[in-house]
């Protein structure tokens, strides 16, 4: 796999991408594909710039991001806390395990109708749906992380006379954090999917609403511009997460690398 980083191969990948885009443009301009469904790339790009500059995209993106952020962060706070408690007290876990096993296999979009019933069609509904869907990976990973902590760590901490709260704060949370972060990363993609879906089912703003609405009004270039924005958002969020992860969890990677060497 030494070839992987070689610039000539990276260039080949870029070449394929550019070739595909040119092909799209040509096929659309010459009428080889139906131009209404596949507007030329240049027109999509122009539309993207136009609705970006007149603020339409920004407004919908902010609405989506607001719901996403509140649902996701709320899920993180609740599910990590619940996961720590359930992972730490085995007894408690035995009480809730079947309930969790019972609720988990239900595909999360199925919660949307209940959310509409309870919260109406406003922001709360979308935040609740996001919160619900994100909670599972975070909860299960946190429980797993806490349960798989090395016994030696516990015993050492207890030997040094740490109290229960100090034990959780100084040993349990740091030791379980790699798995907690895994849960948080999985939930990042899920959150975006559920926000978009909820916005498609009922909303009057947000990127999910925007994309579906443009399609229904047959403004196809706008629709593609919206999808591109959403992809960009997904990509950026993932990048931001990875950057944060590297900062916060740098100590962990340093540790495991040292152990391997």
């Amino acid at each position: 796999m030494a070839e992987r980083g070689r610039p000539s191969f990276r260039l080949a990948g870029l070449g394929v991408l550019v070739a595909l885009l040119c092909l799209w443009e040509l096929a659309s301009r010459t009428g080889y594909v139906y131009e209404v469904y596949f507007p030329p790339i240049t027109r999509i790009a122009g539309t993207f710039l136009r609705i970006l500059l007149d603020g339409t995209l920004v407004q919908h993106m902010l609405a989506t991001l607001g719901r996403f952020g509140r649902g996701y962060l709320l899920a993180a706070a609740l599910a990590v806390s619940a996961g720590l408690v359930l992972g730490y007290w085995r007894l408690l876990f035995t009480f809730f395990e079947p309930l969790i096993e019972f609720m988990r296999p239900m595909p999360s979009p199925a919660i949307i109708p209940i959310a509409i019933l309870l919260f109406g069609i406003g922001d709360e509904m979308k935040i609740f749906v996001t919160l619900y869907a994100c909670s599972w990976p975070i909860l299960l990973n946190t429980i797993d992380g806490v349960r798989s902590i090395d016994r030696t760590l516990f015993n050492t901490a207890l030997t040094f006379g740490l109290g229960r709260w100090e034990l959780i704060r100084k040993v349990v949370i740091p030791a379980a954090s790699p798995q907690i972060v895994t849960g948080l990363r999985i939930s990042l993609a899920i959150a975006l999917i559920l926000v978009t879906t909820a916005e498609m089912v009922v909303s009057n703003d947000g990127l999910g609403f925007f994309i579906l609405d443009e399609q229904r009004s047959f403004r196809i270039a706008e629709m593609y511009a919206g999808i591109f924005t959403l992809a960009l958002l997904g990509y950026t969020l993932n990048r931001v997460f990875l950057a944060l992860d590297a900062r916060v969890m740098g100590w962990h990677r340093g540790l495991t690398k040292k152990e391997i060497l």
């Binding site: 191969f9 035995t94 395990e97 079947p98 309930l99 979009p109 579906l212 399609q215 997904g234």
Partner: protein, 258 residues
Amino acid sequence: MAWTTESRWNGVLVLLAVFPLWELLSRAKLLHPLFFPPMTRILRALGEIMLSGNLPGHIVASLQRAAAGYFLAAAVFITLGILMGYWQRLYNLFELVIELARPVPPPALIPVAILFFGIGNEMKVFIIFFSCAWPILINTIDGVRGVDRVLVNTALTFGLGRFELIRKIIIPAASPYIMTGLRISVAISLILVVISEMVGSTDGIGYFILNAQRSFEIPEMYAGMIVLAALGYTLNRVFVLVDGRLMGWHKGLTARLR
């Protein structure tokens, strides 16, 4: 503390307690009985729609779509993954395109799919196909690349041709990874079938649930959700069973090595 035993019965007890509690709270109107109808009414609704033949039709419709998209994605992307894992050049050519397409949240493509396929089955199959693609593709590529060099070299020493090598060495050696991708995609296919049926459909379990809510048939809505949960659970169990059969050799192997 009366409870000190860590038995599985604790949880079953909690689960069993939830139902009468729900029933009581609903009947006593502590929970809004319109939004949280008594459990017995939900179960009765479940029995009615199961027997009336209404719900089984929706279940079959959903399952067919999920299966079509899932198996199509499996066939196409396992093949592609093996090729891309094996030929580094092919991987390099398409890496950038894949990295750009992957972060698109699958629901974002529903409008495009409606545009091209209308709101029929093809639209849903396409969405499921697209969303199942990534876990299968990425895991297959990873699996093929992770195949032990010694295995490949041994096979070459024994004079295996390229296609025999792929068939007899690469595919079996990569299969644990491929199975992981397939397992992740089972859950994804069910999620996306529900989403696509909610956005544009006239049948299927996702449509049924949303429609029940919109017509304020709340017990039916909950009944649909219970069916969906049971469906997700069953599909997962079936997968584990098939996995155990197909991959039994692998589990035996790794257990022995340990």
